[in-house]
């Protein structure tokens, strides 16, 4: 792990407000490293610049200032050719919020083939990749279906398969679960985490749901276009007041742990997921009971 997969240096982005040609800053001086195979969540309230940050990583937007290195290549350099851009977008795939607005074809498998087709992959290989991608998201039986008849979660899985078929190194999920019902969210999360686990794909998920963020290896908190905090879920959720202050929730389990600690209970161990939390709290209470028995 000598060089990070994604490396940004003093990244800034601002857009010109059409009305009075004023520069509206969105991101300031964001310097961040993401290692290959990492699973990271970016959280922040609306307008914190998290979506903008994601869009800079595959040059859907061009940074106003700063440098981005993907896999060692400076994508902000003026020498970037069109081919380099295609190679970048193949490497860094993106799944968006609205499942309806990212599917192109009228048949599921043809939609998944769209990316590889654009890359000029030979027909027989596209077929193989599409079948493989369908299997990876568990949509094989829907290969010949029309996307508009699928549920939100299924559509989103098709969109993910469309990216997988391009064989990316990194996938960015830009609030991909925001428009889904709980079932759809669970489907998408499962697929996302399986891709990370089994294929070592670097996953960057941008989310409003703190319980989703809590599952990542690392959380980056953006506020007003700046990196406010960067750490493990435990570290991040140990400051609930800070998160609330910038308009974010804290997962219920983390809030509970925080209040217990404040009340004087010493809690050591995993508190990232509700399950881990239950275990840690039980262990703490058992230990306390044990202590009272021994001492009392």
């Amino acid at each position: 792990m000598s060089q990070p997969f994604i490396h940004t240096e003093h990244l800034s982005y601002s857009y010109e407000d059409g009305a009075d040609a004023k520069q509206m800053p969105v991101l300031h001086d964001v310097s961040l490293d993401v290692a290959r195979g990492e699973y990271i969540a970016i959280i922040g309230h609306n307008g914190s610049g998290k979506s903008t940050f994601a869009k800079l990583l595959n040059l859907v937007l061009e940074p106003t200032d700063g440098k981005i290195l993907i896999d060692g290549q400076d994508i902000t350099s003026p020498d970037m050719t069109d081919d380099d851009l295609l190679a970048l977008r193949r490497k860094v795939g993106m799944v968006f919020q609205n499942p309806d607005n990212q599917l192109v074809a009228t048949v599921v498998e043809e939609d998944i083939a769209f990316g590889p087709e654009n890359l000029g992959v030979p027909s027989a290989e596209i077929r193989a990749r599409v079948d493989e991608a369908l299997a990876a998201v568990g949509m094989t039986e829907y290969a010949r279906h029309e996307p508009h008849r699928l549920s939100g979660g299924q559509k989103q899985r098709v969109a993910i398969a469309g990216i997988i078929a391009m064989m990316p190194d990194c996938m960015i999920f830009d609030e991909s679960t925001a428009m889904l019902d709980p079932l759809g969210r669970r489907e998408v999360l499962e697929v996302m985490e399986r891709l990370h686990r089994e294929r070592g794909i670097t996953v960057i998920t941008i989310t409003h749901h703190m319980d989703e963020a809590a599952r990542a290896d690392r959380i980056v908190v953006l506020d007003d276009g700046r990196v406010l905090r960067d750490g493990t879920p435990e570290q991040i959720f140990s400051e609930p007041e800070l998160l609330m202050e910038i308009g974010l929730d804290v997962p219920q389990s983390a809030a509970l742990v925080h209040r217990l600690r404040k009340a004087g209970l010493s809690l050591d161990g995993e508190v990232g997921t509700p399950e881990a939390c239950v275990e840690t709290i039980c262990r703490a209470f058992a230990a306390r009971e044990h202590n009272t028995l021994v001492n009392g």
Partner: protein, 272 residues
């Protein structure tokens, strides 16, 4: 709304459904030309028989075929009446005041009617009923691909068609949602004069347009992220191959054309 079907595609799984869509387009063009070749009774009879055979082969219920003719019924009647009353000739059949109907007019009217029916039914049997809109788009893109040399944006048109087909159901669903939302606010779409009903549509159309533009923007970004850069260097997953059946079908239709030419020459009956 989830159940809406686009176009008139009727999946009966016939031989025609399995033909290569490119061949079906070629054959349809051939068939249209053939329709205009017919000149005498024998030729038109042949044409009519070929159409009936086509319907039989397609295994599409007659009820559906007939409903397909309905939209052109008025045009058909109009041409028939015009031909009946205004085509002059030698053999007078009927005369009443200024109305004169000739045998020639009768034949001409019948020919015209057959020609229109065969045109409509023939092309719909070959194309719309047995080929999905997307296959048709695909076939046209591939058939017209050589025109790219002349800078005709064939791929771009096909892509536009595909996206339109993909988004029609989505936008229809959206329209329903907006209508329901406006109804909940007391909008009335069903009563009042034509003008007031048309005005009631404005609160539907504006949100629909706004959302369509937003979708277009989202889709463009998503397509860029999936490396779309026009038709250049693009490959396709499905490679179409002509099979034996396609050539058999082509042969049949070429033979029909030849037969029609022979019928024109050696057949009998009134000739136009």
């Amino acid at each position: 709304m989830k159940g809406i079907a686009l176009g008139q595609y009727y999946p009966s799984g016939s031989v025609l459904h399995r033909l290569d869509p490119r061949m079906k387009v070629i054959i349809a063009v051939l068939y249209i030309v053939t329709t205009f070749l017919a000149k005498n009774v024998t030729a038109f009879a042949l044409l009519l028989v070929s159409m009936l055979l086509l319907i039989a082969v397609s295994r599409i219920p007659l009820r559906i075929v007939l409903s397909g003719i309905k939209p052109v019924l008025m045009i058909m009647l109009f041409t028939m009446v015009i031909n009946l009353f205004f085509v002059g000739g030698e053999r007078l059949l009927f005369e009443w005041k200024f109305i004169r109907i000739y045998v020639e007019g009768l034949y001409q009217a019948a020919f015209m009617a057959i020609r229109i029916v065969v045109l409509i039914v023939g092309t719909s049997m070959l194309l719309t009923y047995t080929t999905t809109p997307i296959m048709l788009t695909d076939a046209l893109e591939r058939l017209l691909a050589p025109l790219r040399v002349l800078h005709v944006p064939v791929h771009e048109f096909a892509m536009m068609m595909t996206i339109a087909l993909r988004f029609i159901p989505t936008l229809m669903e959206e329209t329903e949602k907006i209508m329901a939302a406006q109804k909940a606010r007391g909008a009335d779409f069903t009563s009042g004069s034509l003008v007031s009903r048309a005005k009631a549509l404005i609160p539907i159309l504006i949100p629909l347009f706004v959302s369509a533009f937003r979708r277009a923007d989202d889709l463009a970004t998503a397509m860029e992220c999936r490396c779309y850069h026009g038709g250049k260097g693009r490959t396709r997953m499905t490679v179409l191959h002509f099979h034996l059946g396609d050539f058999v079908a082509l042969t049949v239709f070429v033979a029909l054309g030849a037969g029609l030419i022979l019928a024109n020459r050696y057949g009998f009956g009134f000739s136009m």
